[in-house]
């Protein structure tokens, strides 16, 4: 078994840069969302297509990121 059609792209969610990594393992698409900085993993999803796996990851990542509080410095 091999990872196929590996792709990374960056998006901005709620003001945060997010890295989306997606690829296919046999018939299933996988997607992982993580912060570009510092690189913490946010979620991992699967789908029948790349778009479906990415959409699930984006939805979950947005839910997590909107909880992040910005403090006055």
């Amino acid at each position: 078994m091999k990872v196929e059609e590996y792709q990374e792209r960056k998006v901005t969610l709620d003001g945060w840069d997010v890295n989306l990594t997606s690829y296919r393992l046999e018939a299933e698409w996988h997607c992982k969302a993580d912060n570009v900085s510092p690189g913490a993993a946010l979620c991992r999803t699967t789908g029948a297509t790349r778009e479906e796996a990415e959409a699930k990851a984006l939805k979950r990542a947005a839910e997590l990121l909107e909880r992040t509080r910005r403090h006055a410095v």
Binding site: M1, V3, T21, S37, A40, A41, V73
Partner: protein, 283 residues
């Protein structure tokens, strides 16, 4: 171009592809996301969960010597085994495992350069079958605490500037704008950084493909912040895994003699009653 100080501490994906199932080699995946191994991993690799297998699950601590010996034995590792560790997030927790292996004196331990990301992106073979190596007997060395910084040491370093402090978290964590990586629970009462620390985020040591930057680039990155090995260095982050990555860079790639990882990190300092905290950019 300068060479890494200890190039033997890194191993390429190509080498692992040819040697992952050698009897003297044990490949171990250690991920931030502990579900990643089940999805796909290097054929023949085993997994260690940082949340349960690389820490004391009762008190906050790294593995005891006995626990480390138990993990090695259950993993089919002997003191002569070439231990190859890799993981996600450019080897965050792989570096954490490497650090503990060195604390307990395992001689031949290496990081797979580029980690899980590089392996997957290269389209190499992967497996979903867990490996179950035969158990061994393992005798570790007593803990080498010269690799680890504890709170009193860090307090002294901050108060007297006796060691260089490197904060490897994101710039927003350093300034105090956020208390944890975006999307993760806040685990401290106060934001900011240890007085005197320099901000050098861990990820600056990596290329886009997850591999480490060249020795020259790394020397420049840390050197411009005054981190040149001329005095002891203490690296810290939030819980100690990102700083173990930087510890690896400073000790094994740049060859600094005196580098420690403060695994108490910001979750300890940022919760201390009465601790001095600096906010904003580095002075």
């Amino acid at each position: 171009m300068a060479e890494y100080a200890h190039p033997e501490a890194l191993i390429s994906t190509e080498w692992v592809a040819g040697h992952a199932t050698d009897p003297q080699v044990r490949v171990v995946e250690v991920d931030v996301d502990t579900k990643a191994y089940n999805e796909a991993h290097v054929p023949g690799a085993i997994a260690w969960a940082w949340t349960t297998q690389l820490c004391d699950t009762v008190r906050r601590d790294i593995l005891s010597q006995q626990q480390f010996e138990g993990l090695m034995a259950a993993s089919g590792v002997t003191p002569e085994t070439t231990l190859v560790i890799y993981g996600d997030n450019n080897n965050w927790f792989a570096a954490w495992a490497f650090w503990q292996a060195k604390i307990y004196g395992h001689n031949d331990v290496r990081l797979m350069n580029g980690g899980r990301k590089k392996w997957l992106s290269e389209g190499r073979d992967v497996s979903q079958e867990a490996s179950h190596p035969a158990a061994t007997q393992y005798q570790a060395h007593a803990a080498d605490l010269s690799l680890r910084a504890f709170l009193p040491h860090v307090q002294d370093a901050s108060a007297h500037r006796s060691s260089a402090l490197v904060d490897v978290r994101s710039p927003q964590e350093f300034t105090g704008e956020i208390l944890a990586p975006p999307g993760l629970p806040e685990t401290c009462q106060r934001g900011g950084h240890i007085p005197g620390a320099r901000s050098i985020p861990w990820g600056k040591a990596c290329n886009d493909d997850g591999t480490f930057k060249s020795a020259d680039e790394l020397g420049g990155l840390y050197g411009k912040e005054g981190i040149d090995g001329s005095k002891p260095v203490i690296a810290y982050c939030r819980i100690g895994e990102r700083s173990s990555h930087t510890w690896f860079v400073l000790k094994y790639l740049l060859g600094f003699d005196n580098v420690t990882n403060y695994d108490g990190s910001w979750t300890e300092w940022g919760n201390l009653v009465g601790a001095n905290v600096e906010k904003g950019a580095a002075a």
